[in-house]
Amino acid sequence: MLLREETYQQQSNFAHYCRTGEFLPIKGVDEKRIHYYPRLVFNVIDDTLRSAFPLTVDLFSEEEWETTTRRFFAKHRCSSYSVWKMPFEFYQYILSSESELLNKFPFLDELLLFEWTEIEIHMMEDKAFPEVSLTGDFENDVIAFNPEFKILQMKYPVHLKNPNKITETDEAAYFVLIFRQPETGNVQFIDVSSFFYWLILKILNEQKSFEELIQEAEQTFKVERSILLTNTIPFLMELQQNKFIIGFKK
């Protein structure tokens, strides 16, 4: 590096001041003006995080938000060159470094992940869609899913309930399907039961016929075939309407 160690130190001290507000000596700066920098820099961080996590902002007190985001920026070294990806680092930071908040809000990790996943799915690179037939039969053909999706498995209903009203009594098994609509690019999420979660994973990972899946479901869930059929077909039709099911494999 052609930079002198001393020049590097000036830049490092300046960057440190911008991130932490802690002033280390920097030669030749205007002391009346330098304080604008940490403010301007932090505005970008705060704006980006507020826009990424509106539900979390609402859950936290203003003081909690302010101190947590400032601690994050001071302690964590942001590695994403695209600022829109930085909120994922905030989520990771909370998981690794904010145990007090995680204890206070036992669903906080899931709330942050849910909010981040909406951004991730909205922005993710386009995936190749399989060639499908638009006409088919759920019972006899192999279903093809929209590949631009994620399913989250959660213990709290952060996708269903105002986070301020979630309590420990809400703890259960929740599943949420989050996907991007192919034409509009809009992100949609659907709450799914544990059976449908199981079914979606089975369809995704195993090339079994609908009949084979229903038989397996009867064994696994100890539910009558007629009940399974009554519930499954309308659910699959709903997924088709919402463009999560894009057709049937050729």
Partner: protein, 282 residues
């Protein structure tokens, strides 16, 4: 005949006005500029939007995170992705800032002033050369606005001239930044421009700012361009050795598109006034 390039006034593309821009013809820029960091490696809605923009307009690209003035290693993964992005959208002009945005492995997502020092000149020029070699093109570097010098050992203009000469790169002249810096650091902006090497200027940016104290302006890109900045632009256009593209930046407080077009028209009229005369007399 007026050179077509005399009317080369573009707009900084913002998601806030994307739909309206594409749906109508209120705004008719000669080109559109995007920050690659906001548009690389994405899909879905915004990718579709960018493709639609690219079908109608030439795209320029203005980077934010390369941190040419920073002490950290260059991010080669980013540069690799950037090169693909420039190719994908057939982007002919890529510019970055003469500042640093990353230090000690931490991105700061803002443009911090570099120390005006000879070792920094060599360091930054070397990095610009590496980037130019990798991207197989000259890049333009922008003179940024700043609110305090940092560990300066030489004048700003000498520093900029030296970096551009050592790196053999182009210069992006942000006329608003020159105005802001002249005001904040109490120097004569015309004298600054006279002392600046203008041959490498390949591109101009214009924007608005906000005066936050009697002796301080912050470069917000959130207000219309003020008359003294238009005047400085008028002067700049007259002394530039070549016609170059001009960009209007508006990042916050986005007004009606008619207002942006009005500002672009003013810039275009100034260019045409001087560059037409130049062509006639030539």
């Amino acid at each position: 005949m007026i050179d077509e390039r005399a009317a080369n006034v573009g707009i900084g593309f913002r998601k806030e006005f994307a739909e309206e821009f594409l749906a109508g013809n209120v705004l008719s820029p000669a080109f559109v500029e995007v920050a690659p960091e906001n548009w690389m490696g994405i899909g879905g809605y915004w990718k579709k939007i960018l493709k639609r923009v690219a079908e109608k307009h030439e795209i320029y690209s203005h980077g934010l995170s390369l941190s040419l003035g920073g002490p950290d290693e260059l991010d080669w993964e980013f540069l690799k992705n950037l090169k693909s992005f420039l190719k994908e959208y057939d982007i002919k002009i890529y510019s970055e800032h003469l500042s640093f945005a990353k230090c000690d492995n931490a991105h700061l997502y803002d443009l911090l002033p570099v120390p005006f020092r000879w070792d920094a000149v060599q360091h930054i020029a070397g990095r610009i050369k590496s980037v130019q070699d990798f991207l197989e093109r000259k890049i333009a570097i922008e003179i940024v606005s700043y609110y305090t010098p940092v560990a300066a050992e030489m004048s700003e203009v000498d520093f900029i001239n030296a970096v551009v000469k050592e790196a053999d790169c182009n210069l992006l002249l942000d006329v608003n930044n020159i105005y802001v810096n002249g005001f904040n650091h109490n120097y004569d902006t015309k004298e600054f421009l006279q002392n600046l090497s203008l041959d490498p200027v390949a591109y101009i940016h214009m924007a608005g700012h906000e005066k936050v104290a009697d002796d301080l302006i912050i470069d917000t890109h959130g207000e219309p361009i003020i008359q003294p900045v238009y005047d400085l632009f008028d002067y700049t256009v007259q002394i530039l050795p070549e016609q170059v593209p001009v960009l209007l930046e508006r990042d916050f407080n986005i007004p009606e598109l008619t207002e942006l077009q009005f500002e672009m028209n003013r810039l275009e009229n100034i260019c045409t006034k001087h560059w037409r005369n130049e062509l006639v007399t030539a």
